[in-house]
Each structure stands twice: as structure tokens, then as C-alpha cells.
């Protein structure tokens, strides 16, 4: 265990480790959500946390999402640092008022007098045959709301670093996790470290095209880049990590170099965050662009249940490389 460089953890174990770090560091931090205590989270994100910190700090809630977010808002405004869990991002529909009208706006409406250090964990994404109500990527709802921050880690390393950063931030931060990534392993240092919120990372260098993406689509984009490399196309892949605030500078710098960009996300393409990213690229790097900024996203339908249809639905490496090839072709 001494050689922390080489230790690996799964994505889901990184969640639990981050939460443990936070609860150790901050006395006012607690965890609340459906089945987070006794069951350790239905995805295992909180395994062992109840045992380590007890039922005063790790709290099972009723199935009451509006109540859960309210618990977060009210306790944060009065001095605690809640970590609340909304099991599936799809369930945000049950609590969008407390998210959009209370959590996001309270500080502003109060003229800056309230502080809301809330970390919200939630699970996004399709690919597990969970059908239309358990597979969505609705981050654009959140990114459109001034007052919130939104991060979307793609690796176990980022999961831990971003959850720790979120918990130290004095604002509400949504950590949008991805359920198909849960069993993916990667290096995760022991102890605490932060990944700064608002900083993108270039996860692959390349000179021919910039692929801007986040969450699970980072690994699909990297796969696509490997395929493309076989044909002599070198893609630079940027993992945004943080969606709000968004590190547009890193993106623009890259596109100024590659002169082409493809934006990729799993969310429905129409009116997704990709529109914002693509718009910014052409606004700020118009003169560098050799081709329109392309977007890869899910088609305009709910997520289907059938595995065959779901595979047809999902953006993946193949669709990404096809889009890149078309752009360069």
C-alpha cells in the first residue's frame, strides 16, 4: 500500500473512498439519501460508510426526493455540509423545484447572505437496459441554472478528486456519476487530493481534430481516437470534467490548433449541452475552423429498453470516429 501511484480502485469504490475522506475531514458533513446507510447505496457507492460513521451521520431517507434536497438546502444554510444522494439522475424530476428555485437561487435572492455548501451525488447514463426512466443524462437542466456547479467525472481518479473538491466548495455542486462506469478500475491515490472544479483535462494529444467530451464518453472518445489513429488521424481528446463552470479556454486553445472539433455526449443531442460547447467554439475560434463543429449525442427518443435498440441508441466509439471521419473527409 506504500506505493500509492499504483493502487487501483473501481469508479464506485472511489465514490465511497471520497465520501469517507470528506466525513473524516469535516465534522459538519453528513450523508443522506435513499438506501445510502443500511444498504450502502444500491450501487455500492456508500459501502461501509454507515459502519464507520454511524447513523447520526449516514442517514437513510424516505423515498422523498423533494424532502431530500430540502434537507440538504436547509441544513447547509444553517451550517452543515451535506452530501445528498439522488439515486438516479432521472429522479430529479421529483425535486427540480428544490434544486432550481431553492438551492440554485437562495444565495442570490438573499443578496449573498446564505451559503450553501451542498454536494449532490447522482447517477446518469444508459447501457444497462434500465429503460427510459433510469438511463437519462439530464445535465443540461442543471447547467442552465445559475447558482449550481456541475461536474461529471470519467475515471475513478476524477471521481475521488472531484467529490473532495465539491465537498470543500461553498456552493451546491452536482457530481454526475455514470452507472456504466461503476466497475471500471483505475489508479486512485490514497489520502486526499482535489481536482479543481472548472478545469478541463487534455486526455489525449492530437493535431487533427479536437474531441470535447465528458463522463463515460471520454473512454468512447479515446477508443475512437485509437481507431482514427490507425488511419493517420490524430485526435486531441478533452475531458471537460467540470460542466459548470466550463473551461472553455482549454477547448478553444486546442481547437485553434486542430482547427476542427467534435463535441460528444451521451445526452440527447437536441438542446443538449453540446449545443453550448459547439456554439462557444465557433464564437471564439471561428477563424481557425476548417469545418463546422460537429456534435455526437443520443437521437431524439426516450432510451429504449431492448438491448438491440439501446445499442442503436447509444453514442459510442464507432459513431464518434464516423463523425470525425466525415468531418475530415
Amino acid at each position: 500500500m506504500a506505493n500509492t501511484e499504483e493502487r487501483t480502485l473501481t469508479y464506485v469504490a472511489a465514490v465511497a473512498e471520497a465520501v469517507e475522506e470528506v466525513l473524516n475531514e469535516q465534522e459538519t458533513a453528513f450523508v443522506a439519501g435513499e438506501d445510502v446507510a443500511g444498504a450502502g447505496g444500491v450501487f455500492g457507492s456508500f459501502r461501509g460508510i454507515l459502519e464507520k460513521f454511524g447513523s447520526d451521520r449516514v442517514i437513510d431517507t424516505p423515498i422523498s426526493e423533494e424532502g431530500i434536497i430540502g434537507l440538504g438546502v436547509g441544513s447547509a444554510a444553517t451550517g452543515l455540509r451535506p452530501i445528498v444522494d439522488i439515486m438516479f439522475m432521472d429522479f430529479m424530476g421529483e425535486c427540480m423545484d428544490e434544486i432550481a428555485n431553492q438551492m440554485a437561487k437562495m444565495r442570490y435572492m438573499f443578496g449573498g447572505s446564505a451559503k450553501l455548501p451542498i454536494t449532490i451525488l447522482t447517477m446518469s447514463g444508459a447501457g444497462m437496459n434500465m429503460a427510459a426512466q433510469h438511463s437519462q443524462s439530464l445535465e443540461v437542466w442543471l447547467c442552465h441554472l445559475p447558482g449550481l456547479k456541475v461536474v461529471a467525472p470519467s475515471t475513478p481518479y476524477d471521481v475521488k478528486g472531484l467529490i473532495i473538491a465539491a465537498s470543500r466548495d461553498d456552493n451546491p455542486v452536482f457530481v454526475v456519476l455514470n452507472k456504466l462506469s461503476l466497475r471500471v478500475s483505475g489508479p486512485v491515490p490514497e489520502g486526499d487530493y482535489e481536482i479543481p472544479i472548472g478545469k478541463a483535462e487534455i486526455v489525449r494529444s492530437g493535431s487533427d481534430v479536437t474531441v470535447v467530451t465528458y463522463s463515460r464518453m471520454v473512454s468512447e472518445s479515446l477508443k475512437a481516437a485509437e481507431e482514427l489513429a490507425k488511419n493517420g488521424i490524430e485526435a486531441e481528446v478533452i475531458d471537460l470534467r467540470s460542466l459548470q463552470p466550463m473551461d472553455s479556454d482549454t477547448v478553444i486553445e486546442s481547437v485553434s490548433k486542430t482547427q476542427r472539433a467534435v463535441v460528444v455526449h451521451e445526452a440527447v443531442r437536441f438542446a443538449g449541452l453540446g449545443g453550448e460547447i459547439a456554439s462557444q467554439i465557433q464564437e471564439r475560434a471561428f477563424d481557425y475552423l476548417d469545418a463546422p463543429v460537429a456534435r455526437v449525442g443520443a437521437p431524439f427518443s426516450p432510451v429504449p429498453f431492448s438491448p438491440v435498440l439501446e445499442q442503436a441508441y447509444l453514442p459510442n466509439a464507432k459513431k464518434i470516429s464516423a463523425e470525425v471521419s466525415a468531418l475530415l473527409g
Binding site: 438506501d35 444498504a39 444500491v42 427510459a132 431524439f300 427518443s301
Partner: protein, 321 residues
């Protein structure tokens, strides 16, 4: 037992159909043949059977994530249901819905639902529609003890009483919301205690006793059709399998003893004891029936297995009318 023999046999058969379908489905899921999440109804059969035995296709129901039992009791065909669980094109939803959205409009079944608590407001709409069209029907919304803590239940209950809608709110209290025992999600023991706060009767009934369920539902339906408004019917029951699948995640959230206590009150076993006692159906005949139904269910599985996957070209169909 004041119910006539035909009704008793009807209820009995609905329960066996559910039990057999669900057990096979669970088996198939654990064998990796059913994708996604599967919430089984085994243990709770008396509720669906006791109520659905009184409903026609023009009576609407909304269901939950634990929805196959309701659909079978409402007349769902095994083949098309398995096909849906497999994600095949011949499924009730052409494979687009799966277990959590299985539905059939022709049978008056407004869908299983992946969102806990989403059914009651929709059922309010169905009951409103019945009242608006001045037809002699009812709507029934099934939901769990866990769901009774969602705001949607509250809003629906209030609207149903306000408009005196022909609605039954049926809480299937199986003592757990996923892995959280009822005592850890609400401070009351009887969800039916919430009825008074809306101005409707709240009835607690033994949800393992199909006849008791039948009779309380009968009274509630009568009331609803007479224009006197909704009833909250709480059926105390238990699920014999895990929250998802049969063995599930293997969490130690309930004891074997507890399960065994409830299994002693297996709704089908108890019902068959009575049927035999009263000379309505001999034990051997019951066993025979189980076998016949198992064969039919297996036919259904074959139908589903032999059905084609949906054509990927249909992905964007059915989004809009």
C-alpha cells in the same frame, strides 16, 4: 367464504398465474436471460388477484416497478409479457418498455412505472376521465409503503377526495422500500392512517388473504361507483424474493426468520387450504392446475425466445403520435 365458487376459482387461478410467471421470470433473470432490472411480485399475489377479479378492461389501473403481477391479474398474456421482458418486438411495448414499463392499454393497464409514486396522479386522471365520461367504471392505483412518502401520493389523494373520484388507492405494504424497513422510512405503522387527512376511509386488510382483499375492494368499488369518492386500502403483505430478482444483492436487511414467518402465510397455500376445506377444489386438482399453468407459461417463454428482436430502424418510431 361468501364468494361463489367461480369467483374463488378465478382468484385462485390469477394467483397461480402470477406466481408461476414470476418464478420463471426470476429464474430466467438469474440465468442472465432477462436484461435490466426485474422486480418480482411473488408473495403479494392475493392483492392483485383479489382486486383484479372485480375489474373489467374498462377499469383502469396504474402499477409500479413491481408490475408484472398486476398485468397478469388483469389478463396479460404470458407470451407477450415475456417477449417484453426479453426486449423482443412481439412484446406488449415492442420491446421499448421492458419490465418497468410493461403495459397494455386494451386491458386497461396504464403501465408499470419506474418512478416510485408516479402512478397515483395518473390514476387520478383516469378516474377523472371515467367520471367525465359518465361511465360506470373505476380506476385503481397500486403503490408501495415506500411510495406513500412521495409527494405525488399526497397530491393525488387530495385531488381524488376533492373531486370524489371513482378511485381505489391500494397500498401494498410489504414492509420495505428497497432495503429500508418501514420503520426507517415512516413513523406510522398503518399507511391507512393517512386517509383521514384527505377525508376518505382508510382500510387495513390482510394482504395475504385474497378473500379479505376481495371483500374490502368490493366495498370500495361500490362506494366509488356510487359517487362517494375514493378509498385508501392498505394491504399488509410481504415479498418473498429480494427487491430485485430472486436473490438480489444478498444484503442482510431482513432476517430469514421474518421471511419464514410470512411464508407460513403464503397467500396461495392458505387459499388452497380453504378451497380444499370447503370442497371447492381438491388439493390434487390444485396441483394439476399449477402444472397446466406452468406449461402455458413455458409456452409463453418459448414464444418470447423465438420472437425477433426489434429492428433497430424502429428506434425513432412511437416517440410521437
Amino acid at each position: 367464504m361468501s364468494l361463489d365458487d367461480a369467483t374463488l376459482l378465478d382468484i385462485h387461478q390469477r394467483m397461480i398465474r402470477i406466481r408461476t410467471f414470476e418464478t420463471e421470470a426470476g429464474r430466467l433473470m438469474e440465468a442472465g436471460k432477462i436484461p435490466g432490472a426485474l422486480h418480482l411480485y411473488v408473495g403479494q399475489e392475493a392483492v392483485a388477484a383479489g382486486i383484479m377479479a372485480q375489474l373489467s378492461n374498462e377499469d383502469w389501473i396504474t402499477s409500479t416497478h413491481r408490475g408484472h403481477g398486476h398485468l397478469i391479474a388483469k389478463g396479460g398474456e404470458y407470451g407477450r409479457m415475456f417477449a417484453e421482458l426479453f426486449g423482443k418486438s412481439t412484446g406488449y411495448c415492442k420491446g421499448k418498455g421492458g419490465s418497468m414499463h410493461i403495459s397494455n392499454m386494451d386491458l386497461g393497464m396504464l403501465g408499470a412505472n419506474g418512478i416510485v409514486g408516479a402512478g397515483p396522479p395518473i390514476a387520478v386522471g383516469a378516474a377523472f376521465s371515467i367520471k367525465y365520461r359518465k361511465v360506470n367504471n373505476v380506476a385503481v392505483t397500486f403503490f408501495g409503503d415506500g411510495a406513500s412518502n412521495e409527494g405525488s401520493f399526497h397530491e393525488a389523494a387530495n385531488m381524488a377526495t376533492l373531486y370524489k373520484l371513482p378511485l381505489l388507492l391500494v397500498c401494498e405494504n410489504n414492509g420495505y422500500g428497497e432495503y429500508t424497513p418501514q420503520a426507517n422510512h415512516q413513523a406510522v405503522v398503518d399507511v391507512a392512517d393517512r386517509a383521514a387527512g384527505y377525508g376518505m376511509p382508510g382500510v387495513v386488510v390482510d394482504g395475504m388473504d385474497a378473500i379479505a382483499v376481495y371483500e374490502s375492494a368490493e366495498a370500495a368499488i361500490e362506494r366509488a361507483k356510487a359517487g362517494e369518492g375514493p378509498t385508501l386500502l392498505e394491504c399488509k403483505t410481504y415479498r418473498f424474493f429480494d427487491h430485485v430478482g430472486i436473490r438480489g444483492m444478498g444484503l442482510a436487511y431482513r432476517t430469514d426468520e421474518e421471511l419464514q414467518e410470512w411464508q407460513k402465510r403464503d397467500p396461495i397455500y392458505m387459499f388452497e387450504e380453504k378451497l380444499a376445506e370447503q370442497g371447492v377444489l381438491a388439493k390434487e386438482a390444485a396441483t394439476k392446475l399449477h402444472e397446466t399453468i406452468l406449461k402455458e407459461v413455458q409456452e409463453g417463454i418459448k414464444f418470447a425466445e423465438n420472437s425477433p428482436d426489434p429492428d433497430p430502424a424502429t428506434l425513432l418510431e412511437d416517440v410521437y403520435a
